[in-house]
Amino acid sequence: MGLEYVKISPGFEKYMPKDYVDLVKYGQFGKQIDVQQIDQIKELVEEHPMCAGCYMAYFVRIFYASLPKPEDTIVLGTAGCARLALSQAAVPFIYGNYGDTNAVASGLKRALSIRFPDKIKDVVVVAGDGGLMDIGFGMTMHSWFRREKFTTIMVDNEVYGNTGGQESGMSPKGVQLKMAPKGKKFDKINAVELAKTAGCVYVAKLAPTNPKRIAKTIKRAILAARELGPTFIHVYTSCNIEYSIPTERVLADAKEREKNDFGFYEWMTDEAKEYLEEQEKKMAEAKT
C-alpha cells in the first residue's frame, strides 16, 4: 500500500462506502494517534465475529490503534481466533497455512526490502499460542535464528480456542480443558526466554490492562524490527469461553494474571536500547 493508495481520488468520494470515507477522513492513515484518543477516530478494525468480551479481540483493537505506520504495514495471521478480527481491518492481511506465519513473513519482508529499498514497510505477525509455539514452532524459531526483521506477537489464550479447547504448550501445568480432561502434565513453555536465546533484539511480555503501555510496547517492537532484527511480544489474551470466565470479569482476570505471572516485562539488546531512545526522541520532537 502506501499513503497515496489509501487516499480517494478527487471526485470519487461520493461513490465510496461511508466506512471507507470515514477511514480516510477520520482514521489513522498518515498520522500518529495517541491510543487514549481512540474514541476520536474511525478505527482501522471493523465489526468482527469474535466472542463477546474476548480480550484477544480487545488486544487486536489496541494493536491496530498502535501501528506506527498503518498505511505501510502488512499483518500476517494464521488459523486461530485472532484472524477473525485481523481480517476485518483496513490493513493488508495475509493468511497462510496453519503455523507458517513466520516463514511467510520472512520471505515477505525480504521481498519488500528488495522491491522498496528506500521505503519503510512494517511486517507484523499476530498469531496464537498453538500457531507459534506448537504447530509453527520450527518456523517461529528459525525466523529468529535467521534474525529476520519483523515483529511476532503471540496472543496467548493458553488453549486452542478456535477448535474447542485442546491444550497447547502454553497452557499452564495442571489445567483441565475440554479436550485435556485429566489436566495438563507439562509446564507452560517459557516463550520469552526462548525468544531471547534465539536472537530477538526486543522481547516483551504483558497482560492487556493498560492501553498506553500496550501501544508503547507495540511501537517499540515494530521500530526495532525495522532496523535491527526480530522482535517478540508475548501477550496474555484470555479465552473466556474455554476458561469459563464470566465476560464482565475478563478485565479483572487480566489484572489478576498481571499480578501473578504476567507482570510487565521488557528486555532489549543494548543496540536496541540506543536505537529506540534515538527514535523516541525524534518522535517527541516531531510532536512539539
Partner: protein
C-alpha cells in the same frame, strides 16, 4: 432482543472521564462525546459483555452504565 450497555448520561457527565471507552473489546462501539463529556454506546455493535460496567462500577465506583434489554430497531 439484545442485551446491551447503556450509559446514564446525566451521571456520566459529572465526570470528565472516558475510561470505559479504553477497555471495550469492540471497535467504535463505546464512544465518547467530548462536547457533552459523556460516553455513549452504538447499540447495534455492542456485544453485551459488561466489561464497561466492571470499569465504571467496580473499578471507578461511578455506576454510570447499566445493562439493558433492547428490541431490534430501538
Amino acid at each position: 432482543m439484545y442485551y446491551v450497555a447503556d450509559v446514564k448520561e446525566s451521571e456520566c457527565a459529572k465526570y470528565n472521564c472516558k475510561q470505559c471507552v479504553l477497555f471495550c473489546p469492540e471497535p467504535n462501539t463505546l464512544m465518547y462525546n467530548s462536547e457533552k463529556h459523556v460516553a455513549w454506546v452504538d447499540y447495534s455493535r455492542c456485544k453485551g459483555c459488561a466489561i464497561c460496567v466492571y470499569v465504571c462500577s467496580d473499578l471507578l465506583k461511578r455506576n454510570c452504565i447499566e445493562m439493558v434489554m433492547m428490541t431490534t430497531g430501538e
